[in-house]
Structures are given as structure tokens and as C-alpha cells.
Amino acid sequence: MELTLDRLSKQFGEKIAVDRVSATLTPGVYGLLGANGAGKTTLMRMLCDVLRPTSGQIALNGRSVRALGAEYRSHLGYLPQDFGYYPEFTALDFMGYMAALKGIPASVSRRRSLELLDAVGLRDMAKRRIKTFSGGMKQRLGIAQAMLNQPGILVLDEPTAGLDPKERVRFRNLIASFAQDKIVVLSTHIVSDVESIADEVIVMRAGSFIMRGHPETIVSALEGKVWECVADAREAAALESRFIVANAHYTPDGRNALRVIADRCPTPSATPLRPTLEDVYLHVFRDEL
């Protein structure tokens, strides 16, 4: 299975949200990393045939998604950011409603809904109304509905935003278990999500893909550019104004230990550190922070 994006663009009036993105995706987990406004959501909406591109096209196994129409959507599972729901619906009602929209016959729909609710740990909440659910439970319901039609392409927009750390880990494990043999595109601005489950990281900024590769490859681009500097208050302030400081804490003797990202050694006493994906993120988005 192969999803090809060919110079995909989306423009809203004057603003270019997605700028001639081209890529070929094969089964695996893609972590789409970018700040807010980078165009991630717009790109995902185009992937899911929810928004029409201004130019360019998407093809599944060589056939245009526009031509495939409903058949393409039958391969999709989508979890939007802040998805809406009918508050009076119970979880099971909602799954039944989404199953009908996905064309799943009634004979299969109830059984599959219950199986999926079980898989996401919402089985005993099946008959409760969605408006009583916490944020984490709603997200889990969201991913359950995305899996209803056993999609080959799973698109998740900021799935862990607003979840507490424990929920986030649980959610990541869920995604990992569902991701077999699928093309999973996961957008996030939480770096640790991507580090743990993505096979490939795509960094997006101002509507384009600026970096793409295995997490380790991307991280190695910053090899030799991350330093630890121990300094007093005045030096620390000077460093902060000149370089990107990823982290700062106090040493036992009351001085500042700064994690600095710089192309060249910032102070004579700086020691090199191993870079992380978060460092890459801060480095790439330094102008926007």
C-alpha cells in the first residue's frame, strides 16, 4: 500500500497553509512534528478528503483519491483534534452512528463496536453518555471509532494533546498496538510521543516538510551542537540572550547549569552532550519560540 502526495497545496485567501508538499508513505508510523500553525491539521484534513486541496493531488496505489472517492474513505480512519459528538449519545450509540456512516452493516457493527470499546478500555462505559466522559476517555473513544472499518490508513491529529502523562502513555501503547501493517500519520507538538512510537519523523514548518527521517538520523544532525554550560547568573543571562537554552537548572553549589544548543562551543568550559529530539525541535523552531 502506498500513499503518494504530489505537490499538495492549500491556500486560504492570502495565507498558504500547506505549500507544495510531496511525499510517499508506506506502512509504518509517521510522526508529524511541528508548532501550531505549521499546517499539520490542514494537511491531515486533505489526507482524509475533508478539505479539497487548492492544487496537487493525493494518490493511493497510483489511483487519484479524488477519483476513488468513497472507496478511498473506506480505507481511512480519522481522529480529528477536538472532535465533536452528539452529547446525548452513549458511547455505543456513537460507535453505531459512526459505523453506519462508514457503511458497516448492522449485523457486524454492534459486535465490532463492543470489541473496540473493549480494546480501548471503555467496555464498562459503553452505555454511559459521552458528555460524562473525561478528556482521556473521549480520546480513547475517538480512536475506537477510527478503527471501526479496519482502515489501512490511520490519521490522528494531536491525539495526546490535553492528556495527563499516564493517559498519554496508555494512548501511545494503544496506537502502537493498532499500527500493524498500516500507514499511521500522527501529528503532535509533543516530542516524546514521536520519539517513542514513530518509525519516521517528519518536521513541518510553514506548510512544508523541512526534515524527514528516522528519529535517530534526525537527532544525529545536531551531533556536536548541544552543550552543557555551568555559569553564574550574569553569564547565564548572556548565554540565554545569544543561544537557544533547552533547559536550565541549579547546581548544588547554586550556579546555573544550562543546556545550550549552539553551532560552536559557546563557552570555554562547556561540555558536549548527546542531542535529543527535543533539542532538534527547539533548534528548528527557534524563531517561533
Binding site: D49, R52, R73, Y78, G103, A106
Partner: protein, 276 residues
């Protein structure tokens, strides 16, 4: 057509063809591809069984008719309550001893209210922000909207049919009068509601729709006072034209609504609508 001697020659040709093909089947073929290989056939049957199981696990999508039927469950309960109340009103008008004018006004009210009652279920995607989820499904927003229009349309047809049946049957007004009092408010009301559903912000749709229904009813009553339906050829013609014009407008609005839904999130997002 065929002359008497021909069949013999034809039969001979056919026999010849059959023999020719039969000979090709068994001879002159590469070795190692014996057709009668029992093992291979059994393996193939086993593979087929696996395919069947695989196919059973991913059933083909249901047809549109089944989808429409499935949407009936998701129409809000109070829509059905209002529809039932309107049918009860029709019965009341038919059996109660009111004046013909009151019955006429009540009939128009049924038409207008039936149009209004279906509105919330049409708005659901927009009001609850589920459009984004729905657009990415097999039956996208256009399919969902079309299904809801059909369900509501059938329900309205039932209500109107009930009114058109009982009121003339129980003698209050003639069938033609009932239809002419019922249809223009219904068509015009529904068309206006669809327009409002498409253009207004979710929070404002119901108030606007109520205003519109009130206007439609006021016009219907006013018109009835000025040009009563009963017995006059020209007024019947005028009412008939009004009904036709309203019906055409309704068809157009339904088409525009579906077109809007088909264009995806660009058209459906509240920010894309004008500020009213």
C-alpha cells in the same frame, strides 16, 4: 430463413469445432501441468475457504438505502414528538366543530410547523462539530445530509398526508382546499429553513427559522383573508402558482445544501458562513 439442407452442414461444422477444441485440451501441452492433480485441487479449495473467511471479516459497505434506514434511529426524539403532535392536531381540526377559516389556519400551521420540526436534525453536523468526522467516512457529509433530508422528508410527507386525508374525509374542508393551505407554507417554510441551515451560524439558526416560519404563516393567513381559496378559479390558480414556486425553491435549496455538504469542510465550517 434457414433452408432445409443447411442444418446438416451446420451440425457437421459444430461437431468439427468441438472435436478440434477437445483435441487441443489433452494433447500438445507442456508436462507438469496435469489438470487432474487431486492434491492441487484440494489445496486450491482450502485457499478459497481462507479467502471466504477473509471476505467475511471485511463486509462490503452497505447500500445507500440501508444507510438511510440506519439514520432513522439518530433523528432526535422530540422531532418525532412534534410530528406526532401535528398529526394529532390534524385529527382535532378534522373532528372539531370549528369554522372553515379556523380549520384553514390550522392546516397552514401544520404545514409550517412540519417544515420547522425537521430542521435540528439537519443542523446536527454543524451544531455539534461532527462534520469533520463525518466527511472522512464512506458516506461523507453529503451522504449523511441526503439521508437526513430523505428521512425528514418521508416523515413530513406522512404528517401532511395524514392532514390531507383526515380533514377532507371528516368534512371540514375539501381536498383541494386542504392541499392549497398545506403545501405553500410547507414548501416555503422548508426552503427558508434549508437556506438558514446552510448560511446562518449554528447558534442563530433556530431563532431565524422560527422568525421565518412565523412570517410564512402570517403571509398564508393574510393571503387567505384577501384571496380565499374557496370556489374561485383565479384564487385557486394563484394559490397553485404559489405552491409550485415554493416547491421549486425548496428543490433548489435542497440541491444547494447537498452541494455545500459535498464541498467538504471549506463550506461547512461556521467561519465560512456570513455573520448572521
Amino acid at each position: 430463413m434457414t433452408s432445409f439442407p443447411r442444418p446438416r452442414a451446420a451440425e457437421q461444422l459444430e461437431a468439427r469445432l468441438r472435436a478440434h477444441y477437445a483435441a487441443q485440451r489433452t494433447d500438445g501441452r507442456p508436462r507438469g501441468s496435469a489438470i487432474g492433480d487431486e492434491q492441487r485441487l484440494r489445496q486450491l479449495a482450502a485457499l478459497m475457504a481462507q479467502e471466504r473467511q477473509g471476505a467475511a471479516a471485511t463486509p462490503r459497505p452497505m447500500g445507500f438505502v440501508a444507510f438511510v434506514a440506519s439514520q432513522v434511529r439518530f433523528v432526535p426524539r422530540w422531532t418525532w414528538i412534534v410530528q406526532a403532535a401535528l398529526m394529532a392536531l390534524a385529527l382535532l381540526l378534522a373532528t372539531g366543530a370549528q369554522s372553515a377559516q379556523a380549520v384553514a389556519m390550522g392546516t397552514s400551521l401544520i404545514g409550517g410547523a412540519a417544515a420547522l420540526a425537521g430542521l435540528p436534525s439537519l443542523l446536527a453536523s454543524k451544531s455539534f462539530n461532527t462534520a469533520e468526522l463525518e466527511c472522512a467516512c464512506y458516506f461523507d457529509c453529503a451522504g449523511a445530509t441526503a439521508a437526513r433530508l430523505i428521512v425528514i422528508g418521508c416523515s413530513d410527507a406522512l404528517v401532511l398526508g395524514c392532514a390531507a386525508l383526515c380533514i377532507p374525509l371528516l368534512g371540514a374542508l375539501s381536498l383541494l382546499e386542504v392541499l392549497l393551505h398545506l403545501c405553500p407554507p410547507f414548501f416555503a417554510g422548508a426552503a427558508g429553513c434549508l437556506l438558514i441551515a446552510r448560511r446562518a451560524r449554528p447558534a442563530n439558526t433556530l431563532p431565524w427559522a422560527l422568525c421565518w416560519t412565523a412570517i410564512v404563516l402570517a403571509c398564508a393567513y393574510g393571503f387567505a383573508a384577501v384571496a380565499p381559496v374557496a370556489y374561485e378559479g383565479t384564487s385557486i390558480a394563484v394559490w397553485g402558482c404559489a405552491a409550485l414556486a415554493a416547491a421549486l425553491w425548496l428543490a433548489r435549496e435542497a440541491y444547494l445544501l447537498l452541494d455545500c455538504a459535498a464541498r467538504g469542510l471549506d463550506a461547512l465550517k461556521a467561519t465560512a458562513s456570513p455573520v448572521w
